[in-house]
Structures are given as C-alpha cells and as structure tokens.
C-alpha cells in the first residue's frame, strides 16, 4: 500500500467528519460553522494565489499516465485549482491550534495566543510537508531556499496564515472588540454596509459574521504584505531553481 493522494484525501475526509462534530461541541455550533467557512475560504484564497503564481501545484497525479489508469485518478473534489482536502486540513490544524492555545494560555492576550497557535501549526506542517512532497500530494515549484525539500517560505506562510486567522477570529468572534487603528476605516466601510455603528460586542450574530469575514479579507492584505518580502529574501538566497508547474 502506498500513501498516495487517494489515501490522503480519504483519510482527511473521514477525520474531518469526526473533528467537525467535536469542534461543534467545543466551540459552539454557529461559531464552529463560521470558523470552518472562514478557514476554508482563507486557505482557498491563499493556495489559489499560490497555484496561479507558480508557487505550488496539486496536479502531479492528474499529469501522471500511471494514475490516469487509477480508479479515481488524482484528487476527487476540487474547489477551483485547489483540492478540498487541502482546505479541510488547514481548517483542522487551525481549529486545533486555536483550541490548544486558548486552553494552554487562557489569560494571555489574543496576539500571544495566536502566536502560539501559529507555532503549533508550523509543527503540524513540519510533519505533513515531507510526506506530502514525497508522495506528490502537492509540489513546490518556487525558486526559494529549501530545507529537506520544504521551502522555508511555506513554513513562514503557515505561521502567518494561522496567526492572522486566529487573531481575527479571537478579536472578532470570541472577544468582540473594536480595533483602535481600524475603527475609523471600519466605520466608513463595513459598518456602513451593515447599517450599524455599534461596538462589535453589541452586534447581532449575522452582523458579527460579516464583520469577521470583512476582517479576514483585510488580514489577507496583511498576509500578502508580510509574505512578499519573505518570498523576495528567500528568492535571493535560493538553493533550488523554479520548476515550471507543468514541467
């Protein structure tokens, strides 16, 4: 038996069902729903940009003649250019790290808890990445600095994505707060659309969800601003060239 993409995808789907059930009880049904939707969209946005930018791809099995004969080919369910399993994996890692950081540092600030969540997520991906790239679940094409064939950019990306996602979730859904530096901007944009000027703690659930998705969108901009210099730096000290995504 090989740890090919079918094994990976089937395992993720099965684990996801049990995990979702557990996290619904741990977080609350609505909160977990919004966390799941947010994590899926967040990872989808990041990974779609990565695929379009030639940083990574998920097509190895689709291009391989051998696997064209395989009963199910490569991944079964796709969300555009990214397989659903990759998004579900991100959700499970982000949710677990969020719960762990909350349990382990209950009195710490949201930023400290998010940083811990990001660090634990890096640990998870340090375990997943070597197996993923060995079995070609995904392939890194970027010209960058690699350690054990994992681009360091990817690890920075995982940390930043989980850190920002958890920070937004904590500061919007768990401890709904106005962000001083964002308040004016939010008053002019999202709160105008929601036709409210309330403090986030006084928003109803539907409005709070929209505020969460809006802040996630803003955090994607922060993520891009953080990742750009990281990519450039590792591009400059690269030890592996770029592989064209379609070889």
């Amino acid at each position: 038996m090989k740890a090919n993409v079918i094994v990976f995808e089937a395992a993720i789907f099965i684990f996801f069902l049990f995990f979702y059930h557990g996290s619904s009880r741990a977080m609350g049904k609505s909160r977990n729903r919004v966390f799941f939707a947010g994590a899926l969209l967040y990872s989808l946005a990041i990974q779609t940009v990565a695929v379009l930018g030639g940083v990574m791809n998920f097509y190895w099995y689709q291009q391989n003649t051998y696997y064209k004969h395989y009963p199910l080919g490569g991944y079964i369910i796709w969300l555009g250019l990214v397989p659903l399993a990759a998004g579900l994996l991100f959700y499970m890692v982000a949710a677990m790290t969020q719960m762990l950081s909350t349990v382990m540092m209950p009195k710490a600030s949201a930023w400290a808890r998010s940083a811990l969540a990001g660090a634990i997520a890096v640990g998870f991906y340090l375990l997943i990445e070597p197996i993923a790239i060995t079995n070609h679940w995904w392939t890194w094409n970027l010209k960058s600095f690699y350690i054990i064939d994992i681009p360091l950019v990817a690890l920075f990306g995982v940390f930043a994505a989980v850190f920002l996602f958890n920070a937004v979730y904590t500061l919007t859904v768990l401890d709904a707060k106005d962000q001083k530096n964002l308040k004016k901007f939010e008053d002019r944009t999202v709160k105008k659309l929601l036709k409210t000027n309330h403090h986030p703690a006084n928003l109803n659930w539907r409005q709070l969800q929209w505020l969460f998705f809006y802040r996630l969108l803003m955090s994607l901009v922060v993520f891009a601003a953080f990742m750009t210099p990281v990519i450039v730096i590792f591009w400059a000290v690269a030890n592996r060239g770029q592989i064209p995504p379609n070889w």
């Binding site: 557990g22 741990a26 391989n64 004969h69 677990m96 634990i120 997943i128 070597p130 392939t139 592996r240």
Partner: protein, 219 residues
Amino acid sequence: MANKRIELEQYKHYVNLLEEEPNRKTARRGFLTCAIVMVILVVGFIVMGFMSTNLARNPSNVTSKPQPATSTPTGTQVPSGTQLPSGTQLPSGTQLPSGTQLPSGTQTPMAPTDKMMSDAGPAGLIDAQPGDLVAQAQSSTPTPINISAPSTSPGSVTSPGKPAAKPLPTTTSGAGNLGNLANGAGARGLDIYVLVLGIALMIVIYLGVRRVRLEGKTK
C-alpha cells in the same frame, strides 16, 4: 416601538449567546474528541511517513516528472518482431512479445499493478537496456533520476558581454534534500524525523487535554 425593537435585538443576542456558549462539560468533551482525532491523524501521518521512506530515499523523487500522457491507446499489442524507433513512449498496459527490440530512449511504463517508475526507489529505469532490469532489481542502493528540467528563473536574461550566470539546479542538495535525511541514520532518517515530530505534537495535544481535565475536576 423603538424600545420594543431594542428589546428584541437584545433577546436575539441573548439567544445567540446561549447557543454559542455550550456548557463547559459539552465543550470539554468536544475538545477531547478533537484532540483524539488529531492524535490519530498524527499517528496516521507517522505511518504514512514510514510508508514513504522508500520513495524519499531517492534524492530526485520530490522533483520527479509526472509520466506524460500518451496518445497511444492503452492495451495496445505490439506484433512479434516489431522494431520500435528510438524515443517511443509506450503507455502502460502495452504488451511486448518476445523478440521485440527496444532501442535506447524507449520509455517503458510499468503495468498498473506494479510500482511506478519514479516511485520504485531504485531509479534509472528510464533508458534501460534489455537485461538492465535484472541488474536494477539486484541492486539495493537507490540511484537518482536526473531531471533535465531547465531552470527558468525570471529576470535571468544574459547580456552578450557578461558570462552567463550559472542557473540554479532544480534539485536540492545537502540539507536541502529530503533524500539525504531519508538515507541518513542507517536509512532510517525520515522514520526518526516523523516519529520525533509526531511524539512532540502528541505531547503538546496531551498538555491541552491535561489542562481541560484538570478544569473538569476542579469544577
């Protein structure tokens, strides 16, 4: 009327809070479920890591090309005595009778029940001569496949006056290569790596579980 509206809004929020704050016992059980699922997932990844060791030992496996799709239909039977031109790619399922001469450059995929060429660990099956397969099978040391994918770093335009900059290889070396880790520690490097990391993650999850259980006991 306005008061009524505010009251309703507050009530709505109150209902949300009731739904959003499950009682601590339910929340603890939910956390334990998630923790157990993630521990099993980590164990699963450790097992998959062990299963991947053979592949990882090949230093070029990570950057190996997918076998390209061919236009020849699968299951084609080549007549006995046929001489194939060099460079011919045979799809999997092609049956070669005895007497068929394979020139160098012919790419012969394995049958679907066998291992894939680049997955087979001992690489170098591409461009194999008749009889080479036996030698490859007897050899236990994996040898890398040399990928000839050109480096296409943007902005690397060479001016005629300057010497051309050395293009970066598309394979890594040293600590950058997973094959070196997999072949290290008596070819158990990757196993040890996933085992150590997996145990570390399980300890972190256990610390969380312990806190939750302590909370449950104190209340």
